[in-house]
Amino acid sequence: MTRENYINAGLTFLLVLVPFWAWSTGQAYILTLCTKVAILALAGVGLNIALGLGGLVSFGHAAFFGIGGYAMGILASHAQTFDPIMEWPILIEGTKSMPVIWLVAMITSALAALLIGALSLRTSGVYFIMITLAFGQMLYYFTIGWPAYGGEDGLSIYVRNSFPGLNTLVPVQFLILSYVILGLALLFSARLSRAPFGLALTAARQNADRVETVGIAPYRLRLVAFVISGAITGLAGALFADLNRFISPTMFSWHTSGEIMIFVILGGVGRLYGPVAGAALFILLEHLLGGVSDYWKIFLGALLLAVVLFARGGLIGTLAGREVAHD
């Protein structure tokens, strides 16, 4: 096992230990924080596929996070008012079932990623960043001006959606659900990075000429990566909405895109556990420093600056050293 594997295992252990302790001592708030870490980490796992493996600096992943959130909000709000989403030509009713909501969230955000990616991947560098940002902001202003689902005020869902066999309103049950999904996403991400697709995608990040010369089109690789990335971040959006039982246009704002990117950069770009470490650190700082000062993000900014300047591999990279080529 490499050092990075040990660090990942240690992190996993901590992330299980903390909620176990909180559960056994009855601290529901800590459980909610841990759930939040898992869900935000999931959003980061999504972004990490585009950013870490593909080198695609997407500043618009809030679009997918928000679409996932609104997929949940729209389906659940119609279910709670017993008012079908549409009656003609086919009857579509709302639902409170998490698996259905997740599926819808992933499909809609994947489609959005296909569209946004197909257009923005024709550019690169700063232009790519700006175009993805523009798409995110477009959806942000759209939802602000969309009164059907709360407009600027957002929309509350009064009862958390259901999962067969679980009582999702019990914090520890929803936490386990979120952990399992994060675990599956990490497993998928790990396999993806070692699969033929991962090899070609990471090669395209390092040298697009090389990939073209062996007869593989970088554009297709990047587009597929962007779609997978968007779908995972969309799923995180649906879960995040369920955690808060609330959606609002903020989910689409560029702040959200920035935060997801901060998780990845703090933890380590392209590292499997980077987003997990980053999201955990972010929530920890928010929790610890947020109590000290309302301006805790100044410290976050300083930390981010330090990471970018002195620890390019993020938390994982600093602890584990240079990435070992895997075989």
Binding site: L192, P196, T213, V214, A217, A325
Partner: protein
Amino acid sequence: MTEPLLQTRGITKSFGALKASDAISLDLRPGEIHALIGPNGAGKSTLIKQIAGNMQPDSGTVHFLGQDVTALDTVARARLGLGRTFQISALAMEFTVLQNAVLGALGARGGVMRFFRPVMKDRALLDRATEALERVGLQDHAATRTAELSHGQRRQLEVAVALTLKPRAFLMDEPMAGLGAGGSKRLTGFLDGLRAEAPILLVEHDMDAVFALADRISVLVYGQVIATGTAAEIRANPDVRRAYLGEEDAA
């Protein structure tokens, strides 16, 4: 005469008033090494880019394996079997040597859109990659990070990756550039044997290598091919001596 594998017909490319390629017609026949020489700024790189598919000619066509490929991009031409090496090594520097070779084997085999099976455990790809590394003598460096290779070893890896493609024709842009005398000599020996597998269009500055290897040589000056012939013919050609080998030699 055998049918040429690769052919350019009247390729012209201008940048403003500068004609970088001026009605260039070249061909590459089975089993030969066709060297392209010319002074700096003669338009060799521009020509290579048009043959490889990075650049569209203003007029004229490129034919490969009897097919007009002028409208095809780099990826499509590579898939048809054009194995290119770059003047400045274009490799994935964070990868190991073996990973770079496996990438080539993967491109040749296809099936990139696979998301679960570890690519570095795929026997067929590994065999193909290892075989290519052995042929250029890099097998002992398979686990080395590409960024840690010496300049000469990177050149060898470039050739190895091209080999994994099992191409129908090679397009090599200064493979000897920056190699020491020993390395250059070894690569010359290697390319000598390679031509039987697939012909090579070789752009090279190393004159010893060119005259030792090439079946035919074309001389490019100011975007025009001023002569094509055997090494002896090129040596004797007065235009070439004047334009390329230096006036003093002609005197």
